[in-house]
Symmetry: D2
Subunit: 372 residues, 4 copies
C-alpha cells in the first residue's frame, strides 16, 4: 500500500506528543507527513515545519486555513493528526471533518462535554473518519486480553481494575515546564489526572472487557498547594452485567513513571498486565499455575499476532503500540471498512462524559452518577 | 531466658492456625506448650493433646475449667493462645484474663463489637496482658517501613494503600472444608473477607503510618450464589492529618494466594511492600532511582535488625514474622514492660470497630461512618 | 512423636550457624537440645550452655568427653549437631559415630579428602546415622523440581546450571569478622568460595537431576590482595548420560546476598528456581507459556506438599527448609528407615571430592579431572 | 536533516531481519528506502521491490549491478543495508564500498575469517563508511552502563557475564523454516549459536566494558541429532587488565525467547541488565541498597538521554535500539565525523575472529586461543 498523506496540527518545537505521533505514523510506512500547522504561533509553526522538511506552501499558521487549503489540493492530505492542548481538539477536528478530511486525534477528545457533543454531530455527517488515539489499546497483549475475555477464558467478568500512576506532579512543576503548564489550567485541559491519564485507564478497562460503564462514583483530590486541577482520582464503576470497576489515576504517586496496570478477575480466571513491561500478560485459572503469556510466544492468539512486528523476546514498546493505531487508521481510510479495534467519536464522547461525571460526582461527595 | 509456659485453646486436629501458633511459639524457644483445650469436642481435644505430647492432667475439655485449673497450679501457664473461630475469642480471653493469665489471641479480636467492648473492660482490670496476633506486623521490612515513616523519610503521608487478595473462595467451597465453613457463617466469623483479611490490611496500614483512621466508607460485595458473607470489600479511609487510605480485600481474585501489599505515598517519597516476597522493601524518593532495601542489607534500619534472625539473602517468611510476635509477647510478660510494637486490646477494638463500620457503611450505600 | 534428645558441638557465643541449627531443630518440635560442647574454649562453652538453658552437667568443654559421657547416660543424646569450622567436622563426627550416636553435620563434610575417607569408613561401621545439612535441598520447590525431573517432565536433561553468588568478601573483611576469619584460612576451611558455597550449588544440581558428575574442569580465582583462598569459582561438569553442568560460586559479586539459582534445561522443558524467592518454581515446556508453580498452589506435587507447613502465598523460608532436614533426620533415627531425601556420608564424600578435584583442576589450567 | 537515500540487499519476501532494518531506518526519518536487490531470485526480488514501493528502475536482480548503477546515478543511494545470509555479507559489502557507498551490515560481518580480512582492507581504502548492526548496543541502558563503567562507577572490572539464551532450536526445525535453514548450514552461516547470538553477547560485553579480550577458551556443543552446527556455546574470556569474561549462548534453553543478559562486577559495584525488559538497569554499590535506574528517570546519564525518544515509563524496545544505530550512521555519513558509539569493520573483524577462535578452541578441548 502506498503511504497516505498526513497533516498535523500542533506538535511544534518544544512539544512532546507531536513527535510521538510522527514516529508512530512513520514506523510502518503508512503515512507521509506533508503538511502542518505546528503551532498557534505562526513563527514557531513555520520554523517547526522547516525542521520537519515540510514544503513551505504546506506550512500553515492557522488550522482553519490549512483545512480549507488541503481540501482543495489535488494532493491534499488524507488525514490530519491533532496534537494540541485539549481545549482545541474539538474545533480543529470539526474544521477538518467539515472538509471531509479524516482526523486522528489525541485524547481526551475534547475539554468539555459540549465540545464533544458538537463534534459527535459533525463527525456523523462527515465522509472523513475520526480516530481517537488511546494508544495503550495498541499493545499486542491488550489485544490478547480482549480476545481472551471475549472468548470467555475468564468466565464472567466480576472485577476490572485499571490504575495509572505517575509521580511527575508530586510537587509544583517548574514555571517553564510547558507540558505541565497547560495541564494545570482547567480551561485548557478540562481536568487534571482524571482527564490526562484517568481517561486512558477508563478506556482501557472498557476496551478489554467489551462493556461500557452504566454509573460511577468518583473522588478527585489535589495534593499540592495552589493547584486548581485534581492530581489523584479514584473512581468506582458499575457495569450492566454486574461487574464492578475501579480506576485509580494519580500524578503524585512517587516512584511511578507511567505505571498503567490492568487486572481483570472473572468467575473462572484472571488476567494481569502492566504497561511498563508490556510484552507479557499473566493468565490464571482457578487452581492452576499462573501462566506468563508473551507477545509472540506459543500462547499468543491471532489478535495479538496481528499487531506484532518482531519475534517473541524482542520487546515492542510504546511507539509500536502507537504505530498500530496509525496503521489501523490507514487501513480504514484506504479500505473504507471499519476495523473492530479502532476507537472513534463514540469512545471519545464516552471519555469526556466519564471526566464530566467524575467531576460532578466528586463535587457531591462521590454521589453515584448515571452514565446512560 | 527460660521458656514461659504456654496453653492453647482451639487448634486441635484438622485446624490450621493452631499449628502455626505452635511453630511460632517454638521457633525462638520462648515458650513451652504445656496445657490445652484443643477442641470444643472433648474426645478430639484429648486426642489432640496426646498427639502434641501434653500431659493428660493438663488436657482440658473446656476452656473455663482450664482457666481455673491453670490459675491455681504452681506451675500454671504464663499465657494462653486462642486459636478458635472468631465468635469464641471474647469469652475465652475474658476467662483467662479474669484469672490473671496473659492472652495471645488471633484476629479479629471478637466477632461482635459488644464482645470487643466487654473484653476491653475485662482486659483493663486484669494483671494479665492481651496480645493480638496481626502477624504481618512482625515482618522486618514492615518494621523498617514503620521506622522510616516515623522518621519522615516520606515527608507527609498522602496516600496509604493496603490490598489483601486471595482466590480460595472464588467458587463455593467443598462441604468438608472446615476452614471455609465457619468463615462463611456470619455468626461464627463476624464477617467475610472484611473480617478475615480486611482487618489485617487495615491494621497494617495504621501500624506502618502510625495513625488511626477517623472515618470510612465501604462497599462489601458477595460474588458467589448463596453466600451470606462478603467476599470482596473496598474501603476508603480518612485520617486526621489529611492522608487518605484505601483497602481492598478480596477472596475471589483468581491468581492471588495471600497477596497482601502495602504502598505508602508521601510528599517526598514512597514505600512499597508485598507479603509474598517479604524480604524486600522498595523505597523511592522523588527524582531518584528507586532502591531495593533488603532485610539484612546495608540499608536495613535498627527496627528491622531487631526482628531479623538470619543474614540477608536467606529469606525469612511467615512463620518467622509470627514468631516475632510471640517473642515480643514473651519479653513483655517476663519484663512487665510494654514493648512499642506489640498490639493489644485497643488495636483489637479498633479492628472490630472497623469491621462493624464497614458493614454499616456498605448497607447504606457507602455512607461515611465516623470512627472517633 | 516425642522429641529426640539433641547435643551440639560448636555454635557458642558469636557463632552464626549454630543458632540456625537450633532454630531448625526446634521448629517442628522433633528435637530438644539437652547437651553441648559449644566452644573449644571451655569458659565460652559453659557460658554459652548456661545461656541456652543446658544443665551444667551436660555442658562439656571437649567433644571427646561429651561423646563418651553421653553414650553411657540412660538419657543420653540421640544425635549431635556439628557446627564448628570445617576442619573439625571429621574428628568430631567420628567421635560420636564411634559411640553409636547419630550425627547431623554442617557442610562441607570435612576440610580434606583424607578426613572424608576416614569418616566414611567410621560411618559405615557405626549404628548411628550420618546426616549432612545441605539445607537448600529442604526447600519444597527443590523437592518439586526433583520429582518433576525424575518423572520426565523435562525429557532428557541437557544442561544444569547452579550459581551461588554473594558479595560479602568483595573487599578484605574486617579483622574481627569471625565468620570471615576461619573461612579465609585454607587449613581451617579446606577452601574458599568453592567449599563454602560451591559445594551447595554442586550438591543441589546433583540432588535435583538425580545424577552424579563423572568429570569436571574448574577455574578458581581470588580477587582481593593477600587472600589465600579462592573467592570466585567456575566449574564445568560432565554427567554420564550426556548432560553438562556449570557451577559459578562467587563471594565478590556485588549486589548479591545469597543468590543461589538453579536452572535445568531438558529436551522437552526447563525449570528455574532462585533461593531468594524460594516459594516459586518456573516451568516451561517448549512452545507453551511458562508456568509459575507455587509451593502449595494447584500445581504443587506430593514431594513438595510433604515438606510444606503453611498454605500457598504465605512464604516459607530458609529456616523452614533447614528444619525439614532436621525433621527428616528425626524420622530416620526414630524409624531406622532411610528416607529418600536425606543426604549422608556418600554425598559428603562427593562434596569433598568435588572441592579437591576443583582445586587440582584449577592448579593445572582447568585440566579435566575424573571423578569416578 | 533531509533523509538520506538508502538501498537494501536481501530482505525480500519471507525474510525477517530485512523488515526490522526497514522499520529501524524509517523510525527517526533519517533514511528513505529507494533501491534494492531484495533477493538472489530475481522474480522474488522484483516482487518484493514492488511491494515496498520501490521504483522499477531501482529494483535490481543482482547486487553487483546495483552497486554500479547506484554509484553513477546523480540521486544514487548514500548507503546500503545488507541483510542476507552471512556468507554473502563480505562480497556485497565489498561491492558497495568499492563504489564509495556506505554499508550498514548485519552481524556477523562475514561467515569466514578470510572474508573478514578481505573486507577490512577494502573498507580501509573506501570513502564509504562501514557500520555493523550489533543492535543491542543501541539500547539506552546499555549506553548508560558503558558510561558508568568508563567513569569508574564500578571500580575495576573483575567479571563480565553475557548470556544469550533462546529456545527455538531445541528440536529440529520444520523443513520450511527459512530462518532456521540457512543458519543450520555451516557454509552459509559460518557457525551456529556462537555466530548467530554468541557474537552479540561478546560484542555487548566488550562494548560496555570498553575492552577487547586477549584470549579465550570455548566449548561448543550440539544437542539435536543430525545438526551440523553448534546450538550451545560456553566461552571464557581473558582481558588485559585482569577481568575475566563468560559468554553463554544457547538456542536450546527452553523457556527463553531472546534472553540476552549482561552483568558486570567490579571492585566497588555492579550493573545488571536484561534485554527482555531493557528500560531498567540495576546498579549496586557494595553495602548499599541496589538501585533501579530507568531510561529517562532521575539517574539516567547523558549517554542514555542522547538515545532516548520518549519519557520514562513508556517503554522503548528493540526497534528503537535498532533505529538508534541507523540514526547514528546517518549522522556519521552526513557529517563525516565518526561517532564514538558506532561499530565498524574493526569490531566486525573482532567478531569473526571470536567465532573462529571459539571453533578452534572447542575442537581442541577448550584450548586457550590467543586473540591478539
Amino acid at each position: 500500500m502506498a503511504p497516505l498523506k498526513l497533516g498535523m496540527v500542533g506538535g511544534g518545537q518544544g512539544a512532546f506528543i507531536g513527535g510521538v505521533h510522527r514516529m508512530a505514523a512513520r514506523l510502518d510506512g503508512c503515512f507521509d507527513l506533508v503538511a502542518g500547522a505546528f503551532s498557534s504561533d505562526p513563527d514557531r509553526a513555520h520554523a517547526s515545519a522547516a525542521e520537519l522538511g515540510i514544503a513551505a506552501d504546506r506550512s500553515y499558521g492557522d488550522f482553519n486555513e490549512m483545512a480549507k487549503a488541503e481540501a482543495v489540493r489535488s494532493d491534499g492530505i488524507d488525514a490530519v493528526s491533532i496534537v494540541t492542548p485539549n481545549h482545541l481538539h474539538g474545533p480543529i477536528a470539526e474544521a477538518f471533518l467539515a472538509q471531509g478530511i479524516s482526523v486522528i486525534c489525541d485524547k481526551p477528545m475534547t475539554a468539555t462535554l459540549a465540545q464533544a457533543e458538537s463534534l459527535l454531530s459533525v463527525a456523523q455527517s462527515s465522509k472523513g473518519h475520526f480516530f481517537l488515539t488511546h494508544n495503550y489499546t495498541g499493545y499486542p497483549m491488550i489485544r490478547q486480553a480482549r480476545q481472551m475475555v471475549a472468548e470467555g477464558a475468564l468466565g464472567e467478568v466480576r472485577i476490572v481494575e485499571a490504575n495509572y500512576l505517575q509521580d511527575w506532579l508530586s510537587v509544583a512543576p517548574a514555571e517553564d515546564n510547558k507540558q505541565a503548564k497547560w495541564r494545570m489550567d482547567p480551561v485548557l485541559s478540562g481536568g487534571g489526572a482524571i482527564g490526562d491519564i484517568g481517561t486512558h485507564a477508563y478506556n482501557l478497562a472498557c476496551f478489554v472487557i467489551g462493556q461500557r460503564a452504566t454509573s460511577l462514583s468518583a473522588t478527585l483530590r489535589s495534593h499540592v498547594a495552589g493547584r486548581s486541577v485534581d492530581d489523584d482520582a479514584r473512581v468506582t464503576l458499575r457495569f450492566d452485567a454486574g461487574a464492578q470497576g475501579h480506576i485509580w489515576a494519580s500524578q503524585v504517586a512517587i516512584g511511578n513513571e507511567n505505571n498503567l496496570t490492568l487486572a481483570i478477575y472473572g468467575s473462572e480466571g484472571s488476567l494481569r498486565w502492566a504497561q511498563e513491561n508490556p510484552n507479557v500478560l499473566w493468565f490464571s485459572k482457578l487452581g492452576q499455575a499462573p501462566q506468563m503469556i508473551t507477545r509472540g510466544g506459543g500462547a499468543a492468539c491471532p489478535a495479538a499476532a496481528a499487531v506484532t512486528r518482531i519475534p517473541a523476546g524482542h520487546p515492542e514498546g510504546y511507539l509500536e503500540a502507537f504505530a498500530t493505531l496509525y496503521r489501523e487508521a490507514a487501513d480504514v481510510i484506504a479500505s473504507q471498512n471499519l476495523d473492530g479495534a479502532t476507537l472513534g467519536v463514540q469512545e471519545g464522547l464516552d471519555g469526556v462524559r466519564f471526566v464530566d461525571a467524575c467531576q460532578r460526582s466528586s463535587r457531591d461527595e462521590a454521589y453515584w452518577i448515571d452514565l446512560r
